[in-house]
């Protein structure tokens, strides 16, 4: 217990020290220095009353006192990059999508687009209309990035702009992306999109610092993708899509903890049992990408498949 406390303090100290160094006041502070007195002393340096703009949880720009930001330890773009590239210690994030629940409400899509500054045709998550063989009923299938364990996309990136973190999330750094679109070509799930023109509301986001875990602001000429709402995970919240779903489609959690939480009902269950009891599968397993997104089969649906007034896939399989 005591040791744990000590570690936590060290961590806090590390964050404060970075700020301290930046202010140019460093004067030979020993590496072994710990203790709450020193931490709070460093905190005092940051109390400038200075306001800076940040992105709120719903993607809106807000003004916050600088000292408040300190608590999370993310202040500059550089620091966001550093922690964003590293990931969250000890976690392995997974998503389970229950296809028997999806009724094409598309609240996931709109919440995602709102949070990530996306245009209507840009999808980090896309609800697809799927048809297996013709003799079973078609169904709706939300498709985010699969955050593969063996991703085809990060392998081919020439500049390490897209990468896999230790917590399993595949991120894209649109401050570094050169726009070669090799990752788009490589992704078998078509999970990636490109900013062919200026992003939505470009002016509004002009002064906002780039948050790699939110992947906002979007930038012209760079690739964008689902990030499992990495910024929300850091706060212990569920991803935007999971929280927005009214039908209980999404389970999200940590495979190391073996627990996933439903975005709608907030019920927490055993991840492995959920997979086992429901014959869960992954998409295109034959490609060996090992996705972190699992699907539960579209069984026992008590509602009809209906899209634009049609109950089959006849004409709408490739329409808008």
């Amino acid at each position: 217990m005591n040791e744990k406390n000590e570690n936590q303090k060290k961590k806090e100290f590390k964050i404060s020290r970075r700020d301290f160094l930046k202010k140019g006041l460093m004067a030979g502070v020993g590496v072994a220095l710990t203790g709450s007195g020193i931490v709070s002393a460093f905190d005092a340096f940051a109390q400038g009353g200075e306001k800076i703009k940040v992105l709120g949880p719903d993607g809106n720009v807000m003004s916050v006192d600088k000292s408040h930001l300190k608590e999370i330890g993310l202040k500059t773009e550089e620091e966001m990059q550093e922690s964003g590239r590293e990931g969250i210690d000890g976690k392995r994030f997974v998503m389970v999508i229950d296809l028997s629940k999806c009724r094409n409400a598309r609240k996931c899509m709109s919440a995602c687009q709102h949070a990530h500054q996306l245009k209507p045709e840009q999808h980090h998550i896309n609800v697809l209309r799927m048809d297996r063989a013709g003799d079973t009923s078609p169904f709706f299938m939300p498709k985010p990035c699969q955050h593969c364990e063996n991703p085809s996309c990060t392998k081919v990136c020439p500049v390490d702009a897209t990468f896999k973190r230790k917590d399993g999330i595949v991120l894209i750094d649109n401050e570094r992306c050169i726009g070669c679109r090799f990752c788009i070509a490589a992704c078998p799930y078509s999970a990636r999109i490109f900013n062919w023109a200026d992003p939505k509301d470009k002016e509004k986001y002009e002064d906002v610092e780039y948050n790699i875990e939110l992947n906002v602001p979007q930038k012209k000429g760079t690739v964008s993708k689902c990030v499992f709402s990495a910024n929300r995970l850091r706060e212990g919240k569920l991803p935007y899509c999971a929280s927005a779903c009214p039908n209980g489609v999404y389970w999200f959690g940590d495979a190391n903890e073996d627990a996933v939480t439903n975005g709608t009902t907030k019920e927490t269950v055993s991840f492995s049992n959920l997979l086992k009891n429901n014959a869960a599968y992954t998409l295109l397993p034959e490609l060996g990408t090992k996705p972190s997104v699992y699907y539960l089969p579209e069984k026992d649906r008590l509602f009809p498949f209906e899209y634009k007034g049609q109950s089959d896939m006849e004409d709408n399989s490739h329409s808008v």
């Binding site: 392998k155 050169i178 999109i193 062919w196 690739v223």
Partner: protein, 460 residues
């Protein structure tokens, strides 16, 4: 069957020098030609600036078909550039004599196209301003970094392989071109690197050329193999193939061989070099093309017959699109018009004469370009999961005006490089032609000292 013979008349050194340097002085028709090339490039530059300002949205590429004409042209250019290695290195090293008058032409094509291939990649980039990231944050694991490495190496070696055999021609040029502008003479002087025709200098040049010719073979194989890996390293239907490396290399030889035939015809007519690029050479190139196309056809059969027989779910849709669907016209042009029919035609001696050769080579090169197009686009159009909830334009692809303009700039740019080289330096190695005519080094030196050069009269 009577063989088409190479030698008809013996040429004197003075005739050779006069014939090969005439195009360097007589610039009839050059101005409109350059004007044409530069205006095409001007339109391309304007289009590219427009693209820089408005983003890649001005192309027809969208989230699903995210690579288009630019990448197709890139592979096509790399393919065409590969011929320099085949003709001057492979055939040269195994001692084939008839390549002497066309080896330099092949090198020029290689240089022109490989340089612009590098540029096309930049045109395709969403953020060309961040190109330095490749050096700052380069990942050795990425095929793009491999490609960059081998393309630049190939440019360097090709350039040396072009310049080195040029050295012994410089004394001729210094003498013959004394009436030409000063800057040209400076170039000739610089590029002679102190060559005065001593036997050991000839020996050194031959030795170095040989070393470079050996070096360029693995590099050239690498450049096109790695280019094929840009596709084959992804788990996409139609690209996920293990034979893509050799498949691309053999395809490249076909495209490059056809380009050489076209260039041979252009130079033999426009530069009045029919005495040097004879029917014999067209005949030989025709036969070579048949061989290259047969190998390529074999790979095509493997690439399409094997999945076409199995019709695995997912692949079936891709195969049918090519065989009978939206890209069937291009596909069958490639297979029939670009391969099978040319193979059959070129089996006949009459079809290996200059004009039929030219027409067949044009058909082959159009097929080669289509081939690159249908390698790139149909695969992207058929991802594993359906394309939905996007505007209609995301479902189709045909290059936009900007893409055509920028691509035509690249084509013109490559031809411009070839034109400039052909107008500055002889398109054939004077010294090697002289050696082949049995003219000794002493005679050459004697000629350079006080040879008699009478223009025009002697040649006609």
């Amino acid at each position: 069957m009577p063989e088409i013979k190479n030698k008809d008349t013996k040429k004197s050194l003075s005739t050779i020098v006069t014939d090969l340097t005439r195009p360097l002085k007589n610039h009839y028709g050059l101005t409109p030609w350059m004007f044409f090339l530069l205006s095409v490039m001007g339109v391309g530059i304007a289009s590219y600036i427009y693209q820089l300002q408005n983003g890649l949205a001005v192309t027809s590429m969208r989230d699903y078909v995210s690579w288009g004409l630019y990448i197709s042209s890139f592979i096509f250019f790399i393919a065409t550039a590969l011929v320099g290695m085949l003709i001057s290195a492979v055939l040269g090293l195994i001692g084939i004599k008839w390549i002497t008058p066309i080896a330099r032409i092949a090198e020029m094509i290689a240089l022109g196209f490989v340089m612009w291939a590098g540029l096309i990649i930049i045109f395709d980039m969403g953020r060309p301003d961040r190109i330095l990231n490749i050096f700052l944050h380069g990942r050795l694991q990425s095929p793009i970094v491999w490609d960059l490495t081998v393309v630049t190496t190939y440019v360097a070696i090709s350039m040396l392989l072009y310049l080195l055999p040029l050295i012994p021609d410089m004394p001729f040029l210094k003498r013959v071109m004394s009436d030409q502008p000063k800057w040209k003479q400076t170039i000739y002087k610089l590029l002679s690197f102190g060559f005065v025709g001593r036997p050991e200098q000839y020996k050194l040049i031959k030795k170095l050329t040989r070393i470079l010719a050996i070096l360029i073979i693995p590099v050239a194989l690498a450049i096109h193999t790695v280019t094929s890996w840009l596709f084959a390293m992804t788990p996409r239907i139609g690209w996920d193939s293990t034979i893509f490396g050799p498949y691309y290399v053999t395809g490249a030889f076909v495209a490059g061989g056809a380009a050489v035939v076209i260039a041979m015809f252009a130079f033999s007519v426009d530069f009045r070099l029919k005495k040097y690029i004879t029917e014999y050479h067209f005949d030989k190139m025709g036969k070579l093309l048949v061989l290259l196309m047969l190998v390529y056809l074999y790979f095509n059969i493997n690439e399409f017959m094997v999945p076409g027989y199995k019709m695995k779910a997912g692949e079936d849709h891709h195969i049918l699109t090519l065989f009978t669907g939206a890209y069937a016209k291009m596909f069958w042009w490639v297979q029939l018009g670009g391969l099978i029919i040319p193979i059959i035609l070129l089996l006949f001696k009459r079809m290996r004469k200059p004009i039929p050769s030219l027409i067949i080579a044009i058909a082959i090169i159009i097929g080669a370009f289509f081939k690159r197009f249908i390698i790139t686009i149909p695969t992207l159009m058929h991802p594993h999961l359906p394309i939905q909830n996007v505007p209609a334009e995301f479902h189709t692809y045909w290059p936009s005006g900007v893409e055509w303009a920028v691509t035509m700039m690249a084509v013109s740019g490559a031809i411009l490089i070839i034109t400039i080289l052909a107008k500055l330096f002889p398109v054939m190695p004077i010294w090697e032609i002289a050696h082949e005519e049995g003219i000794s080094n002493e005679e050459i030196n004697e000629f350079i000292e006080n040879g008699d050069i009478n223009d025009e009269e002697k040649t006609s």
